[in-house]
Symmetry: C2
Subunit: 163 residues, 2 copies
DNA sequence: CTCGATGCAAAATTTTTGCAGTCCC
DNA sequence: GGGACTGCAAAAATTTTGCATCGAG
């Protein structure tokens, strides 16, 4: 069977080409700021916020402004290179897309606000079966789980830990 | 088999009692404003926003302020009488809880922003199985599906409708 | 050159908060 | 009567927008 996964290095080269292609097809210009924001997004290995992205992008190109970050994020999401993730935490998160991103759920640790992207088998099918009930075709779906670390049942040791 | 569903009239009487009980147990005071907001919430048969709730509550008690609505909504959600629903539409929605509300998904028609509450069998179980993968126990889960009305395959008639 | 793109700061939007006065218990 | 509660308006916080200027094609 063919291996389709790529190394991180190949990954970003391909993504960058894809972004440039997207800009071209849409008649959008290739500016230093847009590229800096793209690079900043793909330097992130985890979820990031608009504000965080601004900070990183500015390290690449000092002239990047907050407004341009907010104007570029929709371009990145429309191109499919970045996913917008809203788990109801006041502000939105974003995530650079690397490889296939289907059937994922977001699990949020409510004690740390950390977001995990977890495989959710059949999620797309499941969403489709639900949308059909109201005669809609699925455009997108998201499953979000808020959780907290499992506390093991208390033992005497836990209740009165030996110092 | 016993029928557990109630008439809308019985429903709100019970909910009102439940709210008063909740206020009492929490040592919160029963004010005209809080009751007006409660009544306004249960007059709604669909999802509502904080701003919409304010408008309706003011028809009941002119003195209700926006601040009190925002301060009362958390009380209503904590009591379990109202559910907060955030589908990523800028502002939050709320829904008066009538009867059991387990395993429901929100299906959002992206052309009208209308929200449907749809049965999602085994959703709770599904979320649990996913949260377990990162060692978290589920506190809550939500499945949201964005969809658009199904467009029937085009016929000649559709493409060139006879005026 | 031309018009899309940018930076800056002000605006917009939803929700929160400080404070003085109100009224429930 | 005391402290919880409220209204008002200002503040917060994130995202959007107007406008003069810049720069990609």
């Amino acid at each position: 069977m063919m291996q389709t996964a790529q190394s991180p290095a190949e990954d970003i080269v391909k993504s960058r080409a894809s972004f440039l292609d997207f800009l071209g097809r849409k008649g959008l210009r290739t500016t230093n700021q847009r590229m800096a924001i793209f690079e900043a997004a793909f330097q992130q290995t985890e979820h990031f916020t608009a504000e965080g992205l601004l900070a990183v992008a500015r390290k690449i190109d000092r002239s990047v402004s907050r407004a341009t970050v907010y104007r570029t994020l929709p371009i990145l999401t429309e191109s499919g290179l970045v996913r917008e993730i809203d788990v109801g935490l006041d502000y939105k998160f974003y995530l650079a897309v690397r490889g296939r991103q289907i059937d994922k759920a977001q699990v949020v640790d409510i004690e740390t606000d950390r977001i995990y992207e977890i495989d959710a088998p059949f999620l797309e099918w499941y969403a489709k079966s639900i949308a059909e009930k109201v005669g809609l075709e699925v455009v997108s779906q998201r499953l979000q789980v808020q959780g907290r670390p499992i506390r093991k049942p208390l033992t005497e040791e836990d209740a009165c830990p030996a110092k």
